[in-house]
């Protein structure tokens, strides 16, 4: 089976017509379904949060069969994810897309689990510590996108489970958990 780094690619990735948008409805639905799953899966294992439509993205090209997705196809697949709440367009021109393989709510739950597992209730952490500290190593949180993290934390703040406060510079924003 073909691999991309350590990612196992599904078999449909080697079947050329899956790189052309299918005109018949039923066939296209199946095509969309397979691509949506592949994109989420790939981003999750590779910790990719943002896909730029105008940049090279290894998942959208298969050199073995010499096929690449057209701009229209990329936009169609990502839009399908957007409509399901699994992605968001960052700009109006649909050039960059934020992939939420976990929804913001799921990220918030993930943070709570992390806090409980590490006995961090009632303690203070900086955002950077959550993203790249020793505690989060090996968890989904490690290396996560800053904006996604802040949005998840804001959701927790909204629920009264955390309080975000500003430090002196942008990169030492802190958060106090009160689970």
């Amino acid at each position: 089976m073909q691999k991309l780094g350590d990612f196992k690619l599904p078999h449909f990735f080697n079947y050329p017509p899956y790189f052309t948008l299918q005109p018949v409805r039923d066939t296209r639905e199946k095509q969309l379904q397979l691509w949506k799953e592949l994109i989420l899966d790939f981003c999750r294992t590779q910790k990719i949060f943002i896909i730029g439509l105008e940049e090279e993205f290894s998942l959208f090209t298969n050199p073995v069969i010499e096929r690449s997705l057209s701009h229209e196809a990329k936009e169609t697949f990502l839009s399908a994810l957007v409509s399901e709440g699994r992605a968001e367009w960052i700009d109006k021109g649909h050039k960059k897309c934020l992939i939420l393989w976990l929804r913001i709510q799921d990220w918030a739950d993930c943070i709570l689990r992390f806090v409980k597992d590490n006995g961090l209730e009632d303690s203070v952490m900086t955002i950077e510590e959550i993203r790249s500290g020793i505690e989060s190593r090996g968890t989904e949180l490690h290396g996560m996108d800053r904006t996604v993290l802040i949005r998840a934390l804001k959701l927790l703040e909204h629920k009264g489970k955390a309080a975000i406060f500003k430090g002196t510079s942008a990169d030492d924003e802190g958060v106090k958990f009160s689970v």
């Binding site: 050329p16 017509p17 052309t20 397979l34 096929r67």
Partner: protein, 252 residues
């Protein structure tokens, strides 16, 4: 016979005819009895054989297929009824009904990939993957037998031959001669182009496009515009998709 004159001669001739007829009937009766006896012996021998090789019949697909062939020759159909001697002895009926259900399952699950037309070989591979836990191996012959039983349901399961391959159809789509010829052509590379169809089958361009459009509509073909030469290719999952792709479809 020399004709003799008079009433006496006619009577003798009639009596002789009767005699001949009687003798003929006797000979025929003896022959039929003998045949019946032979068949009965053969049948009981077959039953003995089945009893003796029960395990082989159950486990070895090649053996099973030969056994079926043998049964068919003497007019015994082990699948005809689920009751009675054969089913009790071999449990063959249940085996094929089970296969039938699994075949329907696979055909439905892969339909969105292949439009309801699946390569028999691929179906068989998927069936084996699915039955990993079951001990008996499955041959294409078994698949064909199970499918022939499905016909009773009138659900439109049918095996069609296209070129060298056998395809199992699970949708009521009528494939005409044009479609079949295109499918046959596609077996070489998995795809065809309009030009190729025109050239190889000497059709006018409209005819090829018509047929390909129908196949596309039915979900049997997929278009591919990504090749360097810029020519649209029509791929046919039912002849070119590997079994492993099908198994992905089964999971979702």
């Amino acid at each position: 016979m020399r004709r003799r004159p008079g009433i006496g001669g006619l009577q003798t001739a009639a009596a002789a005819r009767d005699q001949y007829r009687l003798l003929g009937e006797n000979v025929a009766k003896i022959r039929t009895d003998l045949m019946k006896e032979q068949l009965a012996t053969f049948r009981s021998q077959l039953e003995d054989f089945a009893r003796k090789h029960k395990n082989d019949i159950k486990k070895n697909p090649a053996f099973r297929s030969q056994f079926h062939e043998m049964c068919a020759k003497i007019g015994v159909d082990p699948l005809a009824s689920n009751k009675g001697f054969w089913a009790e002895l071999l449990g063959i009926g249940d085996f094929y009904y089970e296969l039938g259900v699994q075949i329907v399952d696979i055909c439905l699950a892969t339909r969105s990939h292949n439009g309801g037309l699946i390569n028999l070989q691929e179906l068989c591979t998927l069936l084996c993957q699915r039955r990993k836990t079951a001990r008996e191996a499955i041959s294409e012959d078994d698949c064909l037998r199970a499918i022939s039983k499905l016909k009773v349901l009138g659900s439109g399961f049918e095996v069609i031959s296209v070129g060298k391959k056998k395809l199992v159809r699970s949708v009521p789509t009528e494939l005409n001669k044009d479609h079949n010829e295109i499918l046959e052509l596609a077996q070489a590379h998995g795809y065809v182009t309009v030009n190729e169809v025109d050239r190889r089958l000497s059709w006018s361009s409209g005819r090829a496009i018509d047929a390909l459009d129908t196949l596309l509509e039915e979900g049997l073909a997929m278009i591919d515009d990504g090749h360097r030469d810029g020519k649209r290719r029509y791929w046919f999952p039912c002849v070119s998709f590997s079994a492993s792709v099908g198994s992905e479809a089964l999971k979702t």
